[in-house]
């Protein structure tokens, strides 16, 4: 689940523009779901019962199944990612579709359904959607036909092209006319020229790339290895590696959250037989490192609400029923524990 800044450079321009236009642009009241926390509930395999919940953190009010409530039909998919771009929210179901809703009220604007196998994430460049997709499994449960699907139209439509990429692409990040692809299985970052719809450049990176993020004006990539995690930034003029750093951390799960003061939180699990899950807190720029910042069992989602410095953990409860969301304050005291949907895996913090 990510906010996508279409372009870092353009983002700064946008901020400048928005400031300069404040007086002449009438304030639009925020929609019901443009404040608070959106909770992404993945749903259980075979049930397609993924859904989005909405939490008002100040009142504790929780609204369940907001897609279904807004559209009078179930989401009917396993919710893999939520991507917010301008007024639209893209709900990516790894069961083969993308639902596009109005971010304010969750009313459906369109879908991408045909032509997708196991979509994972999405990026927007101009009026095109780029959707990472594992492709179908083969006999050995490998995914040699992974691709990036291209769709013309911000409200979805048909897949017009599939750009073959390395196995199991995950996160995407749009920068200018380029789309960065986190190729998780083969340790690659593929950069797609969005105009030509071809791979422009491929970079080898350590570990399994999971997620891009922006920090201090740079584009970073979070990757995980068996016993360490990796971060690297990119020169955005020639698309080469800028900084690479790492941290010894075994069994990282790929969940990452960003706190205040550029602090980063990642979760890991000791795996069999003890399954002790923990969150490690650190900074890429300072010597801050707190291993086992918090330890729990069954962490499935990780988030950080910067507005009130709250760490949020989600627990799947084995997918047997509802998941649980727990909110901790800065001193790690539990301030809220609430039952949410099935398989809560991520959050989106709205204004």
């Amino acid at each position: 689940m990510k906010f996508k800044l279409n372009q870092l450079v353009w983002a700064f321009a946008l901020i400048f523009l928005s400031i300069s236009c404040t007086e002449s642009d009438p304030d639009r009241p925020l929609g019901e779901y443009e404040t608070g926390i959106l909770i992404m509930n993945e749903g259980a395999f075979g049930s397609n019962d993924g859904e989005v919940y909405h939490l008002n953190p100040s009142t504790g009010e929780l609204k369940a199944d907001i897609f279904e409530a807004a559209n009078n039909r179930p989401f009917a998919g396993l919710l893999e990612d939520m991507v917010s771009v301008d007024d639209r929210l893209y709900l990516v179901a790894n069961t083969g579709k993308v639902e596009i809703v109005n971010a304010a009220d969750f009313k459906s604007l369109g879908t991408v359904s045909g032509g997708l196998d196991q979509p994972r994430s999405l990026a927007v460049v101009g009026s095109k959607l780029f959707i990472s997709d594992y492709g179908p499994y083969d006999a050995d449960f490998n995914t040699p036909e992974s691709f990036i699907a291209v769709v013309d139209g911000l409200n979805g439509g048909a897949v017009k092209k599939k750009i073959k990429v390395s196995n199991k692409p995950e996160d995407l990040f749009a920068f200018g006319k380029y789309v960065f692809v986190a190729g998780s299985e083969e340790g690659k970052v593929e950069i797609i020229d969005a105009e030509k719809e071809t791979i422009f450049k491929t970079l080898e990176v350590p570990g399994r790339p999971i997620q891009f993020f922006e920090m201090r004006g740079d584009l970073w990539l979070y990757s995980i290895g068996d016993n360490e995690i990796f971060f690297q930034s990119f020169h955005l003029d020639n698309f080469t590696r800028k900084i690479q750093t790492g941290l010894p951390l075994a069994n990282a799960t790929g969940r990452i959250a960003f706190g205040n003061d550029d602090l980063i939180y990642v979760s890991s699990s000791s795996g069999w037989p003890d399954y002790n899950d923990s969150v490690t807190k650190f900074s890429l720029f300072e010597s801050t490192l707190v291993q086992d910042y918090i330890t729990e069992t069954g962490i499935y989602g990780l988030g950080y609400d910067k507005r009130n410095s709250n760490l949020i953990l989600a627990f799947s409860n084995g997918f047997q029923g509802n998941g649980t969301l727990k909110i901790y304050n800065d001193s790690l005291s539990e301030v809220l524990s609430i039952s949410v949907g099935r398989g809560p895996s991520g959050f989106m913090f709205k204004d």
Binding site: A44, G46, S47, N48, D49, A64, D65, N71, R73, P74, F75, A76, G77, A93, T95, G96, K97, S108, G110, T111, S113, G114, L116, Y137, D138, A139, D140, F141, N251, T253, S269, S270, G271, W272, Y275, D277, T297, G298, Y300, S316, N317, G318, F319, Q320, G321, N322, T324, S339, G341, R342
Partner: protein, 619 residues
Amino acid sequence: MSLLLWIGMFFGFQPQSQDTVLLTPVEVYAPTLDRFTQGQKIKSYSKAELNTYQGRSLGDLLQETSPVFIRQYGAGMLASPSFRGTSAGHTSVFWNGIPVNSPSLGQSDLSILPVAAVDQVAIHFGNGGALFGNEAIGGSIHLGTKLSFSEGFQGSFSQQFGSFGQTNSYLKSSFSSEKLSSETRFYRESATNDFHFKDLGQAETPIVRAQNSAVKQMGIVQDLAWNLSKTTQLKASFWYNQADREIQPVMGSNTNDIQSDQSFRMAVDYFHFGKKSILNLKSGLVQDNQLFNQSENNTVQYFLSGDWDSAFTPKWNLKTGLRLNFIQGELSTYQATDQRVESYQSLRFQPDENLKISLNLRQLAYLDQFEPFIPSLGADWDFWKNSNNQLSLKASIAKGIKVPTLNDRFWEPGGNPDLIPEKSQSGEIGLIWQKTGGISWENSLTYYRMTVDNWIIWIPKGNFWTPENIREVQNQGIEYQGQASTELGNWNITANWAYTWSRAISTKGIGETDPAIGKQLPYTPEHQANGRINAGYNGFSTFIGTYFIGERRVTSDGQRTMPSYQFFNLGVSYGNLSLGKIKIPLRFQVNNLFNKDYQVLYLRPMPGRSYQFTLSIQL
């Protein structure tokens, strides 16, 4: 003849004198289900009932006519049974006395057990661990084929056409003399299954045709029996079934999965009938090859058993035996073997004609682990009777066990070799009122309680899922059944009805704060009911049947519930049409008469009204 007379005595049918004339044709000996099941409930299906389900699956039969809830993933798709609030893995399925559940999955898919492949169906409710062994916790399903001697040649052919591209063919031929009996049957069932449904997974929820849902299966069943001498009999049954299915995707998905299931089952029995005992040596083979897309999972099970069943006094019966089971699995992610040894003893005491008490014990060992004795104790007591009425009481207590499946223990990644067996204990009490006369009826009411401990569930741990002995569940319920028959003029009227109330509550889950604790298990309806009226007159017969499934929660603690639904079937048949000696019975049936739009499981579409026409030719 003496052999068969003896069998009659053995079963307790007391002949008035030694010169009782045996009816012909006579049947091959088949150990009956109910000899040591005192205090427990059994439902057996008549041949006429099974006939109306020709062309349909065992899952359909049980769903529409019994308290068992069938979790159907679509028409012709996976159908798994839930007895008394337990899971599919808590039901053992037997065919001619050998267990046929997949050792890797620990369950059977009832949608690929066609009713047409068997002659006998009986279901046993509650813990049957002592009598039947592994997995008989919620209940067990007993399928069988049945042969007769001295009937000469018989043959029949049936062709069935139905909605959604259904085309079924059945061919059966048999020959029997006094010494030898042989029956061969072939069946082929197919359906394009492209029914219309409202697709909730698409914008605007359009009405669409089902995609990737075609099914076909074919099979051959061969039964043989020889009377080797007056006191010995050899019986062999072979069943090959192949099901090729497109797996209909859940709404919102667009998968094109295909699955092929090939099963070969064999049971060979040798019986020696002594003066007061029967010796049975049995060998069996169950081979399952499943290809899901290109992922192959193969298992084979070998069985060898022997038991001795003795009526050493008129009041005491004893059965004792040993069963060996060797399992080989070559699954897509692992290879494994398993071996099991079971010894079992059953004792029945009948102090007088109104009271029967049975005690059953079984000891199971798998790999190097010995499990404690699994006992059951039950009694049937006809405590009051007059010329037209009889009241009976049934009561039993029992234990059951489920050994972790091969997948539970060995699946890569995640299989947990440290799992221990699931265990269950239960008790039930039932009252039966039987009345004969102008209107004959039977009403029975059963109350049961059950606990299942160490219930295995797969949960995500780190980067993969793994099974653990986590859950504990308490089940209780009431099962009411009634049936009546009478004659109205020349019409024969029969009716049956049933209602089930079932509570299955988690008492232990994932941690003390598991929100599922104290709540009903998912997809476990609290209320179920069914009813059926049949009327027959001079070869013509008709029936109307209905069943009701109450609300089910998708998850124990979630908001989402699946609405209840009621379903009606209607059928007519005429059996007196003939051409010379050739009989040509006709049958027409409407399923889902009122075109009810329903889902058994969330987002799994089910078909609306469908028609089925059957033409048979019997020689």
